[in-house]
Symmetry: C2
Subunit: 307 residues, 2 copies
DNA sequence: AAGCAGGCTTGCAAAAATGCAAGCAAGCGT
DNA sequence: ACGCTTGCTTGCATTTTTGCAAGCCTGCTT
């Protein structure tokens, strides 16, 4: 015999409610949370209000500066983050055991490598494996493999993260490039006396960014951009000197090296995945494919003369 | 620049999906899971298939004996149980800090106490606090306070769980009762020679259940039921001897004690809640109210003569 | 063998959730 | 002051989810 007196209002917490609360905690705005969740912001607005109504708890104060967590909101965020870790761990575990050559893979790579090599190679791979879908995210930021923001990363670094499983491809060299006409008209004894076409911080050339910061007080930067193609065209039009990876600069017929590639601007090219995904058939297959394809570009990427 | 090659199929795991998988793991059938989740079974059927399709993972084999977990299903269950604990902990934390005299409370109590006292007392409490909703679950099984199956429990026991916060009300005594006519016509020297009206295992008289099991080989049980009122009416109609709590037996005009209340059938009456809810205003208010109300019935519950 | 109970799968209607679009408010830049 | 951008709240149409009901299957009891 089960009786109810004056109805029953207590109902179990919906686990999905916590993803909404967590997204708002992280973003601080409804719109930001909506973008993170890939939902319409009116949906987030309604769901938050429904959640707070249902649970009789106020997770956020609505202030001028945005949605500010209450104490309850902070407690919910802590719990939700632990749950997030659990769910991600399970996700990796499930995908990590998948022996089928089907499903989706998310790949992250820098701009230059994506433009020159990866677009083509991934297209070829997908033609070989029609049941595999590859999402190529071109970005300079390091998407986290642990959070499954990416399943496979092409990285330019000398120190791959310990938690990753990596395959080294080759050395990765940078040099300074300019047009012959610019060099003929503007010969200087010192590098920092040239007109420099420098990437914004958003660009993923770590050594070039460091170099720019060290020379900034003396170097004359005539142009900055977050788009490397813009800078390359400026260099081709005799506007100055641009730092580029060798595979890119050496491929441009209108640009020549200003100096030999300096050793201190040399890094390494790696393929990385998460340890948990090392047995996932589709990740292994793509990793092997890309490793072979990129090694065939080894001389170009390493800036070996004659290429 | 964010690019997609051949579309994107990977989407984040819905946390609620895991509650469905967990419920099926625990129940072993779709119908059982549906009952646990308070959903229609066709909904569970469709959601499981949608989940498996979306994630490309098989959590269950469909066998004759029901839905049997795969390896992936077991991994999901382990993760889901850890998440369940997190969510329950958060739930208790949120409710535990609620200082308002509104919201819902779930109370669990045995049948006899519910019929004689709690229905009336809870009604009075709710009239005092119109914003509080009380759900009275009448059951002999020990609903778990930790799982928020109940927020407040009225328990007959000598050993309350250590994890609870308890308030002792009084002693709780049992005795044997029969009609005068039955005793006049059926006087025996030994208790086990009477005709016994015994509760099923489903009834919540722990000492009476123990006593029945110890005497079963010798005692003649002429009637069993999972409904105590049925047994009481049989006793009133001169059919035999029935073990009852004193407050119940002494309240029946047609029944008298067969013997004095034996000390070995004496337990204690407690009010219990979870440690985490000790500051919850509505739980504290109801606990105080019921404690006072039940203490006014102290002599009756303890079987003090004259009552 | 027939009937019953429990569990499942499927079609359709109803309910709930979501996206689209409009409007409002606040802050910033010209 | 005006225009633009960002973020919010709200109404309505559309989409998705859920419950109801029917039908099928299996195992158990009489």
């Amino acid at each position: 015999m089960q009786a109810s007196v004056f109805g029953s209002r207590g109902c179990p917490m919906q686990w999905n409610d916590l993803t909404v609360v967590l997204a708002i905690c992280r973003a601080g705005t409804l719109s930001g949370a909506a973008r993170a969740l890939n939902l319409n912001h009116s949906t987030v607005f309604r769901r938050l209000n429904a959640i707070e109504e249902k649970m009789g708890v106020r997770f956020f104060e609505r202030l001028q500066q945005g949605y500010v967590m209450t104490e309850a909101g902070e407690a919910a965020m802590r719990a939700a983050e632990r749950i997030d870790e659990e769910v991600l761990g399970l996700s990796r575990e499930l995908v990590g055991k998948d022996l089928r050559l089907q499903g989706s893979i998310r790949v992250t790579a820098p701009e230059g490598l994506s433009i020159h090599f990866l677009g083509t190679h991934i297209g070829q791979f997908c033609r070989l494996h029609p049941d595999i879908h590859v999402d190529l995210v071109v970005t300079s930021s390091d998407l986290r493999l642990s959070r499954r923001e990416a399943d496979l990363a092409v990285r330019v670094t000398s120190h791959p993260p310990d938690t990753s499983l990596g395959r080294h491809i080759c050395r990765f060299r940078f040099c300074m490039y300019a047009s012959r006409a610019y060099l003929k008209k503007n010969f200087h004894g010192k590098l920092e006396d040239y007109d420099w076409l420098m990437p914004d911080d958003g660009i993923d050339w770590l050594p070039a960014s460091i170099w720019r910061k060290e020379l900034r007080p003396q170097a004359r930067v005539v142009m900055s951009s977050d788009n490397t193609l813009v800078l390359v065209n400026a260099a081709k039009n005799d506007l100055g000197v641009i730092p580029l990876p060798c595979f890119w600069g050496d491929s441009e017929k209108k640009l020549v090296r200003v100096i030999d590639p300096p050793d201190e601007l040399t890094l390494d090219l790696w393929l990385l995945t998460h340890q948990d995904l090392r047995h996932t058939a589709r990740v292994r297959a793509l990793m092997t494919f890309l490793h072979e394809a990129l090694q065939q570009q080894k001389d170009l990427i390493e800036g070996v003369p004659g290429k």
